[in-house]
Amino acid sequence: MWRYVIPVAVFAVLAVFLYRGLYLNPGYIPSPLVGKPAPEFSLPDLENLDRQVGSRDYEGQVALLNVWATWCVGCRQEHPFLVELARSSGVPIYGLNWKDDRDKALEWLDTLGDPYVASAFDVEGDVAIDWGVYGAPETFLIGRDGTILHKHIAPLTPEIWRRDFLPKIAEECGSLPCPLAEGEE
């Protein structure tokens, strides 16, 4: 009676696939911008409106671009970690202050600390549209050749930093902290 053997045979095939499945890399769907050149921009500096901040400032460097605003709860949550990163990681952090009130933003940096090399003041939100920002906070990791290496939506945490950002930075630079590209400084 072979039909009684069918269930155990089906199970055996299933078990083999499940075993293979254990060692496969689970899939994830990357953001469409990842791997593409980062959009160029130039905006007034939040702290000194006469000066311009833009993609040229971090040209040839590995850098972070953090989209923030004072009205965003998640930004307040991640802020202490950004301050710590700025102190210890060696990766320059640029801010994109998005659709914000300048006075409130300056007060925020005064009271909570300023992790940013500079913050671009995007009051209209045009640059954010180019970058495909659809909520704050978002953090972009930009490579030395200006491509977006990674994009993280939601507050940055030490765990996410270690898991998603550090491996990509190490790959880009070879070692930490990331050396500046030739020709800079």
Partner: protein
């Protein structure tokens, strides 16, 4: 000290489980009554030590003992005490301990009621349960010990996953686990029958409550999970065909099929090897569910634990338990012969159709769940199978099943005269068809083929399920219904209500995603919404932005809704806490999405008619199951001779037989 005590209790539980696994089975094989007699005390002792270990872990949580790694990872001093207790099963290690404890409770119940059964049989059942228990306890102790200490205790813990900090989530996992684990009992009964090489009607009668019991918990657990996803994930959907959901749904489908095939096995001595196979499959699928959700093989919206080493251990356990049982089935199932035959128009035929269709549905869900894994393993790249596949593949067997259900309830065993069925069901059919076409058109103004089909079938089931109960309540129509028959009608009524809710809410929900600024007004699903504004709120362990929305209908204020966007302080993950105004005829759902800069927020509004029937239907189904389990004939053991003769009375004399 207390955690070490718990750890020690867990080791003792493993020792007793091993004793319970080996000696009673060996005793039954060799006819040694002393060895068999060990099964019951071993089961009792195992329960005591599992419960002790569980209490020790709960104590560590309630006293904030962050030197225990599992507590430090899943709790926090600011966590409300209620959630501290629920956090015991909020992580991988603790949920395994909970699994073992629940199995110990089921085993104790089997040992207690098994005294009325032949010693050889109950020893085999307890022996098989011992194997399962030993495997899971070994897994817990070797790969996921909840009592592991940290070298240096942190000042405060990492907090419970914010997704789980919710009243429904406190109840959902225990319900599901009780159901999952309970299916080990019919599995053990099936293996015991295979070992004995014979399957009697008594066997089927002993087994039935042990299928219905876990089934009740699974039904409620799945409904709670769906409800939780509906309001906590903030998407407004209630079923996502997510691997974790499928993992709980597949055992439910197979357990449902098993309940029905057991009815035939008990009454007619048919479908024997099929019943055995379903019992093995139901538990194997719940074990597979554990594998899928615990191994990281499949990525899911709510994957909570993922680790390949643990996955390998569970897979080996699955191979041992399910593979072993199926190999035994291959060797012994041919000995289980049927006792008789049946005609086309009989309850047996309808239950056979039920089994085939439910099995097809379960297979379709299983295939869709692991298909991406197959493709990836064969090197075809990564894909994901979405709701369109599942909705189609699930509806194809479900529609005929639901339509046949209405007739099947009224078919008699062996053979049913056609004119009796026709007389009884003519008017319900006409009513359901007419109402299904006209009512949605009158109420909502539009309709579609699939919607009409769904509503007609739902009404058909509701009406046919009510015929007999109503006749009995108004004092017409012969012998009173047994409690099991009441259970059958009530459970099927629940199915009808569920289908009605699912159809109407899918066809007529109003959705609107809106970028709103304070003061703005808009309309959706017959309601006017006004966005009043947002403010900051401080919770015990989170910070939130709370939106305020006024909801009006025809200018009159219905309710004020306050959805939140929370950020939990320790894990810093953002969470959507939707606001829902629930009523029997509709839910209004408002969720606050991303901030869009300035005062603007993305707002998600849903108006969902009859969605309450989804959960109500599930509760009614579970209640029907409860009525069935508490039927007299499962308590009086063995069945009095008279009752069994009565069960064989030809169909025409008893148009309504319990299932």
């Amino acid at each position: 000290m207390i955690p070490e005590f718990g750890h020690f209790a867990l080791i003792l539980a493993l020792c007793l489980a091993l004793a319970q696994a080996v000696l009673p089975l060996a005793g039954a094989a060799r006819g040694n009554a002393h060895w068999m007699a060990l099964a019951r005390p071993a089961a009792a002792g195992q329960f005591v030590f599992c419960a002790t270990a569980f209490a020790a872990l709960a104590y560590a949580f309630l006293t904030d003992d962050f030197s225990v790694r599992f507590v430090a990872l899943n709790s926090n001093t600011a966590l409300p005490a209620f959630y501290k207790f629920a956090a015991v099963w909020g992580g991988h290690e603790g949920s395994l301990l909970f699994w073992s404890t629940v199995l110990a409770i089921w085993t104790l119940a089997v040992a207690w009621t098994g005294r009325a059964q032949p010693q050889e049989f109950s020893s085999r059942v307890l022996g098989v349960l011992g194997i399962v228990s030993a495997g899971v306890l070994l897994f817990t102790l070797l790969t996921s010990n909840p009592f592991d200490r940290l070298a240096a205790a942190p000042v405060d813990g990492n907090d419970l996953n914010p997704l789980l900090q919710d009243p429904a989530m406190v109840l959902h996992p225990p319900m599901l686990y009780i159901g999952y684990v309970g299916l080990a009992v019919p599995f053990a009964f099936a293996v015991a029958a295979l070992l004995a090489g014979q399957l009697t009607k008594d066997w089927a009668r002993w087994t039935r409550p042990w299928v219905s019991g876990p089934w009740i918990f699974l039904t409620l657990g799945i409904a709670l999970g769906s409800w939780w996803a509906y309001y906590e994930l903030g998407w407004g959907g209630w079923w996502f065909w997510d691997p974790v959901e499928n993992a709980s749904f597949m055992p439910w489908l197979v357990a449902t099929a098993l309940m029905h095939s057991l009815a035939v096995t008990e009454r007619r001595g048919l479908f024997k090897s099929w019943t055995i196979l379903l019992a093995i499959a139901a538990f194997s699928l719940s074990f597979l569910g554990t594998f899928l959700t615990r191994s990281g093989v499949l990525i899911s919206v709510h994957a909570f634990a993922a680790d390949p080493a643990r996955g390998l251990f569970i897979l080996m356990l699955l191979a041992l338990i399910s593979g072993g049982a199926l190999a035994l089935y291959a060797a012994k199932a041919k000995d289980l012969t049927a006792d008789g035959g049946f005609r086309l128009l009989s309850r047996e035929s309808f239950l056979l159709a039920n089994n085939i269709l439910l099995t097809i549905a379960a297979a379709a869900v299983l295939f869709g769940t692991i298909y991406p894994l197959f493709l990836d393993a064969l090197g075809f790249g990564q894909i994901s199978v979405g709701p369109p596949y599942f909705n189609t593949m699930f509806l194809v067997p479900m529609l005929p099943l639901a339509a046949l259900l209405g007739i099947g309830m009224h078919a008699a065993w062996r053979n049913t005269p056609r004119h009796l069925l026709l007389d009884k069901l003519k008017w319900p059919a006409i009513f359901a068809a007419a109402a299904g076409v006209v009512v949605p058109w009158l109420v909502f103004g539009t309709t579609s083929v699939l919607t009409v089909l769904g509503i007609v079938i739902a009404l058909w089931i509701v009406v046919t399920a009510l015929i007999e109960p109503v006749r009995k309540l108004v004092g017409r129509g012969g012998a009173p219904l047994t409690r099991a028959q009441w259970g059958m009608f009530v459970a099927h009524l629940g199915v009808g209500l569920f289908i009605l809710g699912a159809t109407v809410t899918s066809a007529y929900d109003a959705e609107l995603d809106h970028a709103a600024t304070p003061g703005e007004q808009w309309e959706a699903g017959g309601y006017e919404f006004t966005f009043v504004g947002t403010r900051n709120v401080e919770g015990p362990n989170y910070t939130a932005v709370e939106g305020e929305f006024e909801v009006r209908r025809n200018g009159e204020l219905v309710t004020v809704m306050r959805p939140q966007q929370r950020v939990y302080r320790v894990q810093q993950s953002p969470m959507t806490e939707a606001a829902i105004d629930a009523a029997l005829h509709r839910d209004v759902f408002v969720a606050l999405g991303q901030s869009l800069g300035g005062d603007a927020w993305s707002v998600r509004v849903r108006v969902k008619p009859l969605i309450s029937l989804l959960w109500l239907g599930a509760v009614v189904m579970a209640f029907g199951g409860l009525l069935g389990v508490t039927d007299r004939r499962y308590r009086s053991q063995p069945a009095p001779r008279a009752e069994r003769i009565e069960a064989e009375v030809p169909a025409a004399a008893r148009p309504v037989e319990g299932s």
